[in-house]
Symmetry: D2
Amino acid sequence: MCRWIAYRGERTAFEHYVTEPEHSLVTQSLRALESTAGTNGDGFGLGWYGDHPEPGLYRETRPAWSDENLRYLCRHLHSHLFFAHVRAATGTAVTRQNCHPFACGRWLFMHNGFVGSWNRLRRKVEAMIPDALYPSRLGTTDSEAVFLAIVGAGIDKDPIGATSTVLRALCQLVNEDGLSEHLRFTSALSNGHDLYAFRFAANDHANSLYYREDGDQVIAVSEPYDKESDWIEVPPDHVLVARASRRAEIVPLLVAGSVGFEAERKRSQRVIGRI
Amino acid sequence: MCRWIAYRGERTAFEHYVTEPEHSLVTQSLRALESTAGTNGDGFGLGWYGDHPEPGLYRETRPAWSDENLRYLCRHLHSHLFFAHVRAATGTAVTRQNCHPFACGRWLFMHNGFVGSWNRLRRKVEAMIPDALYPSRLGTTDSEAVFLAIVGAGIDKDPIGATSTVLRALCQLVNEDGLSEHLRFTSALSNGHDLYAFRFAANDHANSLYYREDGDQVIAVSEPYDKESDWIEVPPDHVLVARASRRAEIVPLLVAGSVGFEAERKRSQRVIGRI
Amino acid sequence: MCRWIAYRGERTAFEHYVTEPEHSLVTQSLRALESTAGTNGDGFGLGWYGDHPEPGLYRETRPAWSDENLRYLCRHLHSHLFFAHVRAATGTAVTRQNCHPFACGRWLFMHNGFVGSWNRLRRKVEAMIPDALYPSRLGTTDSEAVFLAIVGAGIDKDPIGATSTVLRALCQLVNEDGLSEHLRFTSALSNGHDLYAFRFAANDHANSLYYREDGDQVIAVSEPYDKESDWIEVPPDHVLVARASRRAEIVPLLVAGSVGFEAERKRSQRVIGRI
Amino acid sequence: MCRWIAYRGERTAFEHYVTEPEHSLVTQSLRALESTAGTNGDGFGLGWYGDHPEPGLYRETRPAWSDENLRYLCRHLHSHLFFAHVRAATGTAVTRQNCHPFACGRWLFMHNGFVGSWNRLRRKVEAMIPDALYPSRLGTTDSEAVFLAIVGAGIDKDPIGATSTVLRALCQLVNEDGLSEHLRFTSALSNGHDLYAFRFAANDHANSLYYREDGDQVIAVSEPYDKESDWIEVPPDHVLVARASRRAEIVPLLVAGSVGFEAERKRSQRVIGRI
């Protein structure tokens, strides 16, 4: 179980959300140790947009809580749109290249979830990455492979459509040969202007996804980082869409072929009706 | 709270005690995450004796659970006397030089504890290190400084006496100016033949110390790593002494000047009476 | 240009060959900095055989010359057959998983060379790895992919044959579409009993390979580490074979399909005639 | 021999000076490998000033040339005053805490030089750090100890005076007992507004120091990073002073008590006469 936060809004220093007491991802990550969630000590990462045409990345293998550089960078880096992620590895090595976020062109991606039986399915998922993007395959995680497949499926034209296409293919893979491998996909995606956050699962419960909106500011999180009441849960099979200078909205994620697609769709409609 | 294990006995691969399921320090360290003890993710270390006149050291800043090298080394390194330690830092940096065990000449030392108000007392503790040993001050921890002070106090002639001398000086330091800084000292010390493990505190509860004996084998631990009944608790203000080829024995650690010395001494006598 | 050494002989501590002054890989690596060869500061690794059925590995991303652990390990690790490698990366990331040697089952492999246009050919080389071995693809280097392909081509039955088969396929790849990509392959391979060292290139000069034999001891190196006269050069398109308890011999490596195969074969015959 | 660059001027991205081809510290560091200067592969660091009252720091132990984060940070971090440093260790460990620059309050410091016989003199130099600053002693280098001594000697009131005071005390130390230990001190110091760069040595040649001025921009370097003709050498026993919004000037550094003070003073007068 990884934890992440995606911020869009006024240009701000990362420290308020990533490293400062009480309201930070690092603090939450440490608190998580004492609860049910296990540690997030297998590396971490920051991704952000600035003046440079490509996003910035800072990824480290040591635990976020003991990285002196992180404290300095979160004081000095400012952005209108940034991602932060603390990793709990699910089988792949602890290398910088396996830490989130991942960058490709203008796009950033980070993920809490997994493709079940990755050792068996890895090759088939990697085959979904177009040749032209394969040199961008720097690590060995399921998350990076899924991201590059999404980029290759037409992310620039239609990010939600490209994601749906890839999830549909993944659903087929995990259900091949009569098996029902687990697939969890709670992720954030951005091009520096628009922020998308997905909540999806096949053959499994979907990892949580929440957001909060305040004026132009939208914060999406894998789990709420405080107990205030204004966190809104995104239902399974749905996408949070926060386009540049527009209000956030929640739209269904149509991935036909998912086992439990109909049931989840019905449940999510009931849930969304309550929000 | 660090965790450690010291082994003396038949020459064996470290893996049975350090990395293998159920009976290992690494596993215990991960289990600790889910309980009260917090994480031990701030580096780890191995120290051992072999054919070379000086002990070996392997210290790393990443968490023990994600170090691939550790698994290989624990399979292939064998010794009749080795230390393993997982660290939870108490304020000093996560560097290899701050990871336990520490080595000086033939001696190895590792520690679970701290000198209270280290920032204020550090200079005075460092002043207890003789000039000739100061080049061996590679890191910045209280533990390393205390170890080098013990080496300088005559460790080769009388390890327990040298330790008592240094603890007595530390007790004076923590009680200077009417203050009662905490001091905890649960540690292991060896010259490759004899194994010593200390349990001591001033102005505070002593961190736990247990051991188990089976023939020539003696295993001392900061905390038991299984629920079997044959762990023996070492009482506060006492030392476990396991000299080469001799049975383990528990002897009092006489550190006059410790606040609560008398009370602890009485309590420990009651406790040791129950063992 | 990486540098490596492979040792087979009396059980010995690694330090004489890896870390000690004048006769060590680390020293040579540092000396290389001052000469023409560039730095080998992109990580290093040790691989060795002991009592455990699988070989040991120690791989680190920091330069060998500043790794305190390496000095201790090379004093305390002993083996009758070990590999040591210092890396100069040729485009792939500096991670432990990309450092040599690589292990698979009982086999160890290390390499000085490259597959030209790796970004373009990578996918095709990875396709040569059988499904069953693909989970062992932990990194992203050309070297690891080629090794796993060799393992999959029947390494247990015929290591030289399996290597020839893979080199033949690589020659086809680098010559596809009328291109003549460079391919250099100077490598060492062992199962813990037998030591093989290959020198091969297509469309390029072959990286150097030397060895020295003294009784049961055989040392193969990418470059001689001293100026003594008894280093024997292995000619291009040849293999050094040092089977357990047998004298070393040099045999031709038949890789039909290599551009320049005939010319190289003739040249190497002249060279081998002079040895 | 470390290498460093200090920039003061228009707010700019670091990449033009630190990572980009031809005109960068990283490139120069790699080129240095092929020449006489040895490698600078023992870590590196950035220090800079931004909106936050304290400067930022990014320090890493891996070689600058293989750090992916560095490339991203140098694209995205902007400052009107920043330091960059690549380290060649002179005996102390490769840890982040031993990498330059060092920060204390608003001050940044970096250094190319050393205190001779550091193991013998270390304790006496550390004694020059006031108690209140001793908790800022995070590493074990001579450079950090000298910096903290300078801070303690009244850096806020008179940075050049404080530096002279400490250098005078160091000269006494290196000349104690009739010895003539080497002392080299080519360093940069800033409070975020003013930039100072010192060139000094006792019993030794002074490491080089150059600068270039263009309008409000002042760049000071340990060695020129291109062959253009407008680099001005700062003579030994002199300081480059570039106060906020003022032209750079070179002033003598008066450190009475230095052996060779008179000779150096005369030589430097001749040199400065030629500039």
